[in-house]
């Protein structure tokens, strides 16, 4: 990358296909290095922890021989880099070890809990986009009016509010006092185990199997946590939409379009908004990644059986295999979403070339 930047002349001369290939290779290389680094960091965290990994396998009463055998079998007598290679090999085979808490492979556990988080984060992002994009556009078009000011306040509150607290207050008001929504967990107890889990997404599964009672109940449970996540997503998306739109609305082509006599609606939505779509998609991908993080605290509040609850429960019982497995999975998704948004930007937006 550095060489290509130092030599812009040589870069300009190479044919487009080669340029794309080189760019693609550089991106893939960067991605691989980032992922390797991510795994190395989690590997190191697993090594510095105060819990003896051998003891947690053989138990405290194991004899010296058993302990040593396990020590060697786990490869702990090898140099750190060799251990890391073993670790990489395991991770590449989706082997994150066995959870102390559930006594099952961590990868199985994660596959089981992940759909719950996915459903929550997706619905949250949908709320964020549906409300945040129009809010941002209107705030930019009516810059300085009360709409703009209130959009600013909404975003400011979103940036300042502890999400776990908003979750608790939401639970108190909408569940405890008003009784409008279902409480914690994904379903009421009578509705559990009616729907056969196919995708793991309760809303989708119940709709596909025609269990509308379950669907309604699942919806009443997911609506509050999803709205709370959606609020944070909306705060971010509306701010970004606003600043993108302001940038476009100040451009000369907008003046031209207005001078041509185009209706204001066309100018705003076809011309200006049309030009920020690519940027918006990258912002949405980033906010989706951030929601995964917000889900950790939100899931704890709502006893939502997703990956966030899984990690925090594992944390409190010093179940490091589960913690690191969960961290890796969330980290990888985060990286992939970031790269996805980066690539999208690079390949769809001609200005980025």
């Amino acid at each position: 990358m550095a060489i290509a930047e130092d030599n812009p002349g040589g870069r300009r001369r190479s044919p487009p296909l080669l340029r794309h290939l080189r760019k693609g290779a550089a991106t893939i290389g960067a991605v691989l290095i980032t992922m390797l680094g991510l795994l190395f960091v989690t590997f190191l965290i697993g090594r510095v922890m105060p819990v003896d990994p051998v003891l947690s396998v053989v138990g405290e009463r194991a004899s010296k021989e058993v302990y040593d055998a396990a020590y060697r079998a786990m490869g702990l007598d090898k140099p750190l880099l060799v251990q890391f290679a073993y670790y990489l090999w395991d991770v590449l085979h989706f082997d994150f070890g066995t959870s102390l808490l559930t006594a099952r492979p961590v990868s199985e556990d994660i596959a089981r809990v992940f759909p719950a988080t996915f459903e929550l984060a997706t619905l949250g992002t949908i709320f964020g986009v549906v409300l945040g994009v129009p809010l941002g556009v209107v705030a930019a078009v009516r810059r300085g009016t009360w709409i703009d000011q209130s959009a600013r306040v909404v975003a400011l509150i979103g940036y300042s509010m502890p999400i776990f607290w908003l979750g608790l207050v939401g639970l108190l008001i909408f569940y405890g006092i008003l009784g409008w929504v279902g409480g914690p967990r994904r379903l009421d107890i009578f509705y559990q185990d009616i729907v056969e889990p196919r995708t793991g997404l309760l809303l989708l599964d119940s709709a596909l199997q025609g269990e509308w009672g379950v669907f309604r109940n699942a919806f009443s449970h997911i609506i509050l946590p999803a709205s709370i996540l959606g609020y944070y997503s909306m705060a971010y998306i509306s701010r970004m939409t606003r600043s993108f739109m302001l940038e476009q609305l100040g451009a000369e082509y907008i003046v031209t379009a207005r001078v041509k006599g185009l209706p204001e609606r066309t100018v705003i939505w076809r011309h200006a908004f049309g030009n920020i779509k690519v940027q918006l998609i990258t912002v949405i991908a980033l906010s989706y990644a951030n929601l995964l993080e917000g889900a950790v605290l939100t899931e704890t509040i709502f006893s939502w059986p997703g990956i966030g609850s899984y990690i925090t429960t594992a944390l409190l019982s010093a179940d490091m295999a589960a913690v690191l497995g969960g961290t890796i999975v969330v980290g990888l998704i985060f990286v992939l979403l970031n790269i996805f948004s980066d690539l999208l930007y690079k390949f769809l937006d001609p200005r980025a070339k």
Binding site: M1, A2, A30, I33, T34, G37, L38, V41, T42, I45, G46, V48, M49, P50, L156, I157, Y159, S160, M161, P162, I163, F164, W165, L168, V169, L171, L172, G176, R239, R242, S243, L246, A289, N290, L292, E293, V296, L297, T300, I301, I311, T312, L315, L316, A318, M320, V323, L324, G326, T327, V330, G331, F334, V335, N338
Partner: protein
């Protein structure tokens, strides 16, 4: 003729002059102009006042708090708001919530100050060295930065605290580890804009070594963007610290950390809502104050960014 008013007049003129007489004078003029612009921004001043109040509360905690924050009184547990002697009620062990919140201000300030010192300094070091050295050093340092940026911050902090053990110092360390990469990015970007400029070349021709150029000439120029970023990040740091405390990974139980207090009150949220709600309001107020001040500072120190955001 009153001597003091004339003095103030001259001070003002001295601070607003167009023709500073020395380097220190020029700096004072710039700082005073910045202060005037910040003062015109009501929201930023509101944020500043809230933070000054927080500082006072933290300093004067032993005199302000009506009760010992750790003193239990099981006969008076879960008293509602407005109970005589306990304006914000008591928690599940009968401890006075107001006193705990007042002492909690100290913990919050302690965490924020430490992280706000550690993370930008590490970022400044990494970023300026990478930007000034270029080549392989730059490539490697920035790759490391990207790796840390690639993690979701809270999850990485969780993993670190899990490995290091719960506690305030470890929470500070974990948050700092996840917070430095953006500063490194900013410092590097700033360094890249200066490194080939004429004044750096002139200093280099005078025989200045890279260490001197970085510490004496590049660091001061990176400061204003770092300060803005730190102020804007403070809210995030407070929220992260409170989140760790809420999950039981920050301050240890009896200590009145706000996030941990929310977690304690969580069990009683439906019947005794104030126990969890009050400390949450404190977290919200302080992080709002930092956001307001950060927005204002950005407008003052970095006019090209505009008022959006």
């Amino acid at each position: 003729m009153s001597r003091t008013s004339q003095d103030r007049q001259t001070w003002r003129q001295w601070l607003l002059t167009d023709t500073p007489t020395s380097r220190a004078h020029a700096r004072a003029v710039a700082a005073y102009n910045g202060w005037l612009r910040l003062r015109a921004n009501h929201m930023a001043m509101l944020g500043l006042y809230i933070l000054l109040a927080l500082l006072l509360v933290a300093l004067l905690a032993p005199w302000l708090a009506p009760h010992d924050p750790l003193a239990q009184d099981l006969a008076n547990r879960l008293q509602p708001l407005g109970t005589p002697g306990h304006p914000l009620g008591t928690d599940s062990l009968g401890r006075d919530i107001l006193s705990r919140m007042i002492y909690g201000a100290r913990i919050t300030l302690y965490i924020v100050t430490l992280v706000a010192l550690i993370a930008p300094i590490v970022g400044l070091l990494v970023g300026t060295v990478a930007g000034y050295a270029g080549g392989w050093t730059d490539a490697i340092l920035m790759r490391v930065t990207d790796i840390f940026l690639a993690f979701p911050r809270l999850v990485l902090a969780l993993a670190f605290v899990a490995a290091l053990g719960a506690g305030i110092e470890n929470a500070v360390l974990a948050i700092s580890i996840t917070a430095w990469p953006p500063y490194a990015r900013i410092a590097r970007a700033e360094t890249l804009t200066f490194r080939n400029s004429d004044f750096i070349a002139a200093i280099r021709l005078q025989g200045a070594r890279p260490l001197r150029i970085i510490t004496r000439h590049i660091w001061p120029l990176c400061l204003s963007s770092l300060i803005i970023r730190v102020t804007l990040d403070m809210a995030g740091i407070i929220l992260a610290a409170a989140g760790l405390g809420f999950l039981g990974l920050g301050a240890r139980p009896p200590s009145p950390e706000w996030g941990a207090m929310v977690a304690e009150g969580r069990k009683f949220i439906l019947d005794h809502w104030w126990v969890a709600t009050m400390p949450g309001l404190a977290i919200f107020t302080v992080s709002l104050a930092f956001n307001l001040l950060g927005d204002g500072l950005r407008d003052v120190l970095d006019p090209k960014e505009g008022k959006s955001g």
